[in-house]
């Protein structure tokens, strides 16, 4: 511990590449100010795409690559998707491969799972993951557990996907974050992408994976645009499941988060540097299960402070799991301060605008948590 005390104060510089531009390019949405736009480094790549386009192109390419891949869910075909993620797929692949279902989550999730037992590769959409609660028996008992229960004999190459977590003003029953619940189930892989690159690479990987994958998208990210490198648009671009990404390097505190909060954390990091000269390292988990504890551990060994951020409820959540995982590694000996968990409030999501805002982490909450983490070890 001793060797790391006061590292934030030693004035060793520079701690990272020019911040403002990097952060702003990573933390969408597309900036409206020409000044900021000019400050962005030139994207190496050819494309600027939204998360929705990333998901749509991923599904399209995987359906083209492998006939056994099909899409099933409510409104996925004729309506082009409740959130338009499956737009154009019916026209291209027909109604045998893009299947509109009645409103019967338990039924169609079970049916999709059964078709996977028998060799097909379904992409099963839940209009939101809230509705997956009506199908959770099949996700857990039929999909997650079957390879194990059958002694390795029956594979379940299914992807359950859809928007997860809060949107805006949609009330308690439409706003729940399911990362922790699904993340606790052995036999499932659980992914939570942030940007367009994550969406493309991880969804393609998920569809190609022979295991059941829960793919937790975010409705508010669907419209967000990101610059992506050429390679991301390649038909065979995939990202490894279970590997986190260091979005921004830093030396003073590690912020670990997933999904939409990655963008908020990056903004918080910019504020921390500009106003407080605190350099945060921001890690995008990308996967909830397997959880990339190793990357977090290495980061904490460098910064000695950890802040976890999630939109889900605090109890038994992703942050709680990160704490426990880190304490069980050698990173424990490097911590200079207690871990700070920033989470959604411990309430069903309220409808009233002012209450709802206070029920989810904001940039201020993350900055405050980082400052607490950093201040604690001041002599």
């Amino acid at each position: 511990m001793m060797a790391h005390v006061g590292r934030a104060l030693t004035g060793v510089a520079p701690r990272r590449a020019p911040l403002a531009a990097t952060v702003r390019s990573l933390a969408s949405p597309m900036p409206s100010s020409p000044l900021v736009a000019a400050a962005r480094p030139q994207a190496r790549g050819a494309a600027t795409i939204t998360c929705r386009e990333a998901l749509n192109s991923a599904i399209d390419e995987e359906m083209e690559r492998e006939d056994k891949v099909y899409v099933i869910g409510e409104e996925v075909a004729e309506y082009n998707g409740a959130y338009k993620v499956t737009k154009g797929l019916l026209a291209k692949y027909g109604d045998r491969r893009v299947v509109d279902t009645p409103i019967t989550e338990a039924g169609f999730a079970g049916l999709a799972t059964g078709s996977a037992f028998a060799g097909l590769r379904p992409v099963c959409e839940f209009m939101t993951f809230n509705f997956s609660m009506q199908a959770i028996d099949h996700i857990v008992n039929s999909a997650a557990k079957t390879l194990y229960m059958s002694g390795g004999k029956i594979k379940v190459p299914i992807v359950f996907r859809g928007p997860n977590g809060a949107a805006a003003g949609v009330g308690a029953q439409h706003s729940q974050d399911f990362s922790a619940w699904y993340g606790s189930v052995p036999g499932l892989k659980v992914i939570s992408p942030y940007d367009a690159e994550d969406c493309r690479g991880l969804l393609k990987a998920a569809i190609r994976d022979d295991n059941p994958v829960v793919f937790l998208e975010n409705e508010l990210m669907y419209n967000q645009s990101f610059d992506v490198a050429d390679e991301v648009m390649d038909k065979d671009f995939t990202l490894p499941i279970g590997k986190a990404k260091v979005m921004l390097e830093g030396s003073d505190v590690t912020i670990v988060t997933h999904s939409k909060q990655v963008g908020v954390a990056l903004q918080a990091a910019a504020e921390l540097e500009e106003k407080h000269e605190v350099f945060a390292e921001v890690i995008n988990l990308r996967s909830i299960r397997p959880l990339d504890t190793a990357t977090v551990c290495e980061s904490v060994k460098k910064t000695s402070r950890l802040v976890t951020v999630e939109e889900g409820w605090p109890a038994f959540g992703v942050g709680a799991e990160l704490c426990a995982s880190i304490f069980e590694t050698e990173a424990f000996n490097y911590l200079d301060a207690p871990v700070q968990r920033v989470t959604g409030a411990d309430v069903p999501t309220p409808y009233a605008e002012n209450l709802e805002k206070s029920a989810f982490p904001s940039q201020n909450d993350i900055v405050a948590a980082c400052l607490r983490a950093v201040d604690v070890s001041l002599p």
Partner: protein, 346 residues
């Protein structure tokens, strides 16, 4: 793109001109439908002005079903609804200003601003919600009916059985919970009325594309309860069917299923582009507007004159203007009370 098969208008099984309704009852029905229609139109206005947010599902066109059923119920009877719940709440007696305040997310809303459009609740009016998921309200309603029997058989209460009316749509009738509850309701002779508001569409899914047997009332037969199909654009026909169902339930003969054929004049929600329903189809149904139909009936039979009807219209407009004023001027919930109402003792 295939359009739905032309719906065979059922032609009411009940002769609506044979109903012996007095003037005051008819005017109550007229006012209730007008209130529902105007309330929903006001919601649309407020939504586009940014006063309302999130998901808002409007009921325009289906007023005859809400009014036809709920106006027969006692205050102690229960109503359970879906996310398309504003008008059911109004028909049940929840004051329009409290529903409006709820939609604005204010402390004076019937759910104290915590619920929103899809979660209208009112204990004093025995209005049990307000649910986001299809079919979720059906077991809840069945439970209220179970409670009613329990009071009589276990708690030995002597008052009349309380009836529960449960409203849901065509899409819901393919969901397991629907079938599970039909079974239990018949098994235990629960005093419940399952009211299917078959408006032919579930978001963008046409009824005939999702249902192996489109005639929903026929499914009741398989479980042993009567299934009645009725013209959902005729408030008197709905009322007549509901009257029989309420009577059955209250005298302990168990559940009834009413399939009301109706239509929603607007999209699934205010966010729905509503691209899949044809203009011809919409026009055909709009021509059968239930409010216009009742108005014509009242005037043709000289039950009231146009002046009286206009007075009612004006009263409704005034009520809604006041509801909006009330909602706008009401305070938002107190931020310090974010965690209030988590447990019953706080």
């Amino acid at each position: 793109m295939s359009y739905p098969k032309k719906v065979q208008l059922p032609l009411t099984n009940y002769n609506s001109t044979g109903l012996n309704l007095n003037k005051s009852n008819l005017l109550v029905l007229y006012e209730d439908m007008l209130l529902g229609r105007n309330f929903e139109d006001m919601c649309a206005q407020m939504y586009y002005k940014g006063k309302m947010f999130g998901f808002v599902h409007l009921y325009n066109g289906q007023e005859a079903v809400s009014t036809g059923v709920i106006k027969l119920l006692n205050p102690t009877d229960y109503v359970c609804s879906t996310y398309r719940d504003h008008v059911h709440a109004l028909s049940k007696g929840v004051p329009s200003k409290n529903v409006m305040a709820e939609l604005f997310g204010k402390e004076t809303g019937c759910s104290k601003g915590r619920g929103g459009s899809m979660h209208i609740f009112s204990a004093p009016h025995n209005f049990l919600g307000g649910f986001a998921f299809i079919a979720e309200g059906i077991p809840v309603a069945t439970g209220a009916a179970f409670q009613s029997i329990y009071r009589q058989q276990v708690l030995k209460e002597t008052e009349d059985l309380r009836v529960t009316a449960c409203f849901f749509g065509d899409g819901t009738t393919n969901n397991g919970q629907f079938f599970e509850c039909l079974n239990m309701a018949v098994l235990w002779k629960l005093p419940i009325i399952f009211v299917v508001e078959n408006n032919q569409w579930a978001i963008g899914m046409a009824h005939h594309r999702s249902s192996s047997i489109p005639e929903i009332h026929k499914k009741a037969e398989a479980f042993g309860l009567p299934g009645i199909e009725v013209d959902g654009m005729d408030v008197l026909a709905v009322r007549q069917a509901a009257k029989q169902a309420v009577q059955r339930a209250r005298q302990g003969d168990g559940p009834t299923l009413i399939e009301a054929l109706t239509y929603r004049f607007r999209g699934h929600s205010l966010a729905d582009p509503d691209e899949l329903r044809s203009r011809q189809e919409k026009e055909a149904w709009v021509a059968r507007d239930p409010i216009k139909k009742l108005k014509k009936y009242i005037l043709d039979n000289e039950i009231a004159n146009i002046g009286e009807l206009n007075e009612i219209q004006n009263a409704v407009k005034t009520e809604l203007e006041q509801a909006v004023k009330f909602a706008i001027s009401s305070p938002e919930p107190n931020m310090s009370e974010l965690k209030r109402y988590l447990f019953a003792d706080n």
